[in-house]
Amino acid sequence: MRRLILLLLAASLCIPVLAQAGPGKGKKRSVEEFYREASGTIATVEFIQEFLANGQKQQTRGFTDGVVITEEGLVLISGRVRFPQRGGSGRISRGSRPELSGFRLHFSDGRSHDAVLLSFEDDLNLGLLQITDPPATGMPHIRFRKKFKPKVGQSLRSLTLYSEDYARKPILAPVGINALLDTPQDVWSLSGASSQLLGAPLWDGRGRVVGVVAQVPMSPWAGRQVTPRLSGPVGLSYARFAEWIAEEAAKPRSEDQSDAAAGAQEQERRAWLGLMFGPLDSDLAAHLKISEGGGVIISRVVPSSPAEAAGLKPLDILVELDGQRIAVEKDADTNAFSQAIRGYEPGSKLSFTREEPGGERSSLTIVAAETPTSNLHAERRSDEFFEITVREVTLDTLLGHRLPPETPGVIVDGLTAAGWAGLSGMRVGGIIQRIAGHEVSDLDSFEAAMKIVREQKPAKVMFFVRSGRRTRFFVAEPDWSELKDTE
């Protein structure tokens, strides 16, 4: 009995000691303890965005959550910073991919630090910053729980500093796991997670971070196969980004990080074949008399893609890649296959084995190309007088509209409703193919046509716009006397 009392006494004495040791060391935390410990690791990240929207160059202050993940000041943020934000409110508006600069972190205890952008992970919509001021060491930081088995119904905790409305007081957000997704794996549906929490960590009851709140993108056409059918925030397990974090943390950093910052905003170079596929389940394989072990059934081949060049057709079945069985038997397995393909360098030769119903096999080599430009990374141009921003035609858009790959034009990316282009009735998403009789095939010809229009100053300017397979004309009637104001 005495031993038990001593043990309890010792345990009670330990609590404050553990609390001082920082988050993530084993013992269960009360909410108060967790709040106190974790508050020092999260910061409001303030940054400057410069982007083209509605035909005008805009500069806004943006805000997001950041969490310090290493003693040296590596900071995890949401990839949302790459989207134009409206007036710092966090609401995403249309516009070009912003140039990012001026990152500064504000902690709830009054500390502030400058930071630079290191990298983005396109698939996961996450980014990393490095604190540069002062020379970073000894930063309070979170600890990841590397082995975590999530369960449906599990309660997690999150904190956000994102809102300025609370005088930089961290806001506690209880979050629950309400589903574990099969596709993609290690992604959870969350209850209680609003878009305010994007980028915020998810802590377990012992003060260790098991994942982050994220919004997993994006279009499968740009090579991203991570497409949960959830539109809102999801929980992203640490397992999904552990490798990326480890690689980034291990990279040597130069003093001048400007090159890294510029590179971080470029689209990653990844292998792309131009095919869509589904799993070959065992029942279907047996029915088709195809060997056991899985594979992929090609559902669509992108025109003019490497897969088409190699002679791949819809309903072809691929069972081996470089001599290894493609073990894809259910939806949950498809992501691994996508990741495997994208692990190749553009230009690599991928050797596939194709199997016909009945079992006859043949070989097929596909030379991987580089992932086509995504809508996010597409180049934009603006015409400030007409208050319109356009972007290059991307494969995403062409396939979405069911248009052939060589479709010329530029996509209306944004326009001001009361601007000259907007007043014509034109809408975002249309493909401009002709302006005042001048063919528009790309961004350069768009600029050239607009230049001629500005020089000639016609009373009416006709835009020929394709939307899906239908076309329509819009006529802008600018007041040319306002032209000098914008030049």
Binding site: M276, G278, D283, L284, H287, L288, I297, S299, R300, P314, L315, R402, R434, A459, K460, M462, F464, G468, R469, R470, T471, R472, F473, V475
Partner: protein
């Protein structure tokens, strides 16, 4: 004490209100010609009004289901023909009609026209005589004007024999292209609409909008959601013509060109014209008669079949589409077109507008329903061809749902045998279900994507649901 005061006050209010009602009612009845006219019109028109209870079949949930609804209609002649909306009586498998005197009788479908949302049904002419029903007559379209008093008769929310009162708010309302009926057919291309503030609610559909001479100015068809007193009726001018065709031929024959237009507005100078002339070709469907004629988006159609065309405002578009549709089918029509400052002479050969929707079939043992793909559906939906059958619905818990078949895909083959038509599908289905296989393999397509669906049946073929 307090209770007593409340009671006294209540009695006072009741008496006061009753007095006000009585007073206003009496003065109106005695002094208002308008009130008397409304009474007269109501009396003369009511016998033509019917409440329609169609039984339709739906296939959208993967099985054939019967569905009951309520709409309105009105007698148009002594032969028992009743006008209503396509979305009320179209494709009905059974039609019951309640007359003004609450007698309930059966009716038959005579013809339907989804493109104007009109249908004609018929009751026994002997019953028309027996019940002394007086047919309504169409109003002269020339008499239609904004501000004219109108009455909407019908069964809003199934409340039979309801009359509402208002004015014609607009005689020529253009509603944007691309409206679809609940059953999916495109509608509204060939008419503008009468807008009225006489209350029109669900159930009013198919009922008459009549003027104070008791003549039909329009067929009530739709209301604006989240708005007060904005209803729309198909004008008598359009309805009269369509109803005439439906009674005579059972259908409306129209030519299809595949050309979409925009109004020229005041853009004539952009085409080097001094005065507005022509209609702007905005889009030409691939494979359509318009494309075969060489028409291109951006052309200005100056004349059609040697008749000059001018469409300056969008309200004029339905008239142009009607003119094109009225062209005899398979006729070669000369076109005068302005393209890049040059006038071209082209020739367009019209073709018949096909069926906007196909026949349906329930594959009950497989747990889904299919629809025939008509040529016209292939045009409208931009499908690659009309081969195959369209999956209309997938039954929850059936073999198709377990095999992840989804609505909207096209079945291209069954057990590796290509499928072209619904008839083939029905034959294959019958053959296969008779042999009770454990598995059936479907090859399906959604636009350019293809996949396989394996239907599996535990212990052989499933029993139809």
């Amino acid at each position: 004490m307090l209770l007593g005061m409340i009671r006294t006050l209540s009695v006072f209010l009741f008496v006061a209100l009753g007095f006000l009602c009585l007073n206003s009612g009496t003065s109106f009845a005695k002094n208002s010609d308008l009130q008397q006219t409304i009474f007269d019109v109501q009396e003369s028109a009511l016998s033509a009004l019917v409440n329609i209870q169609p039984i339709t079949e739906t296939f959208s949930r993967g099985e054939r289901r019967k569905q009951a609804s309520v709409g309105s209609g009105f007698l148009i002649d002594t032969k028992g023909h009743i006008v209503t909306n396509f979305h009320v009586a179209g494709k009905a498998s059974k039609l019951m009609v309640t007359l003004f005197n609450k007698e309930r009788i059966e009716a038959e479908l005579i013809g339907e026209d989804p493109q104007t949302d009109l249908a004609v049904i018929r009751i026994d002419p002997e019953l028309v005589k027996l019940h002394r029903m007086k047919p309504l007559r169409w109003a002269d379209p020339e008499d239609l004007e904004v501000g004219r008093f109108v009455l909407a008769l019908g069964s809003p929310l199934a409340l039979a024999r309801t009359m509402t009162f208002g004015v014609v708010s607009n005689t020529d309302r253009y509603l944007p292209e691309g409206m679809s009926l609940p059953s999916g057919e495109r509608t509204g291309d060939f008419n503008t609409w009468i807008q009225t503030d006489a209350a029109i609610n669900p159930g009013n559909s198919g009922g008459p909008l009549i003027d104070l001479s008791g003549k039909v100015v329009g067929v009530n068809a739709r209301g604006a959601m989240f708005a007060d007193n904005i209803g729309f009726a198909i004008p008598a001018k359009t309805a009269n013509k369509v109803v005439h065709s439906l009674i005579g031929q059972g259908s409306v024959s129209r030519s299809y060109t595949g050309v979409s237009f925009q109004p020229l507005k005041d853009w004539e100078l952009l085409f080097g014209l001094e005065a507005p002339r022509g209609a702007l070709v905005s889009s030409v469907a691939s494979g359509s008669p318009g494309e075969r004629a060489g028409l291109q988006a951006g052309d200005l159609l100056l004349s059609y079949d040697s008749v000059d065309i001018t469409v300056r405002f969008e309200e004029e578009l339905p008239g142009l589409y009607q003119r094109l549709a009225d062209t005899p089918i398979n006729s070669a029509v000369p076109l005068q077109v302005l393209r890049n400052d040059s006038e071209l002479q082209l020739e367009l050969t019209t073709q018949a507008t096909g069926k906007l929707s196909g026949e349906k079939f329930e594959a009950s043992a497989w747990g889904f329903t299919v629809e025939e793909i008509t040529e016209q559906m292939a045009y409208e939906r931009e499908l690659l061809s009309s081969d195959g059958v369209l999956v209309k619905g997938v039954l929850t818990g059936g073999a198709a749902q377990r095999g992840e078949l989804s609505r909207g895909v096209i079945i291209e083959s069954i057990d590796h045998e290509p499928l072209v038509s619904l008839k083939q599908f029905e034959e294959r289905y019958t053959d296969i279900t008779n042999s009770s296989p454990a598995e059936v393999l479907l090859q399906v397509r959604r636009y350019e994507s293809k996949s396989w669906v394996l239907l599996q049946f535990e212990g052989g073929q499933e029993v139809g649901q």
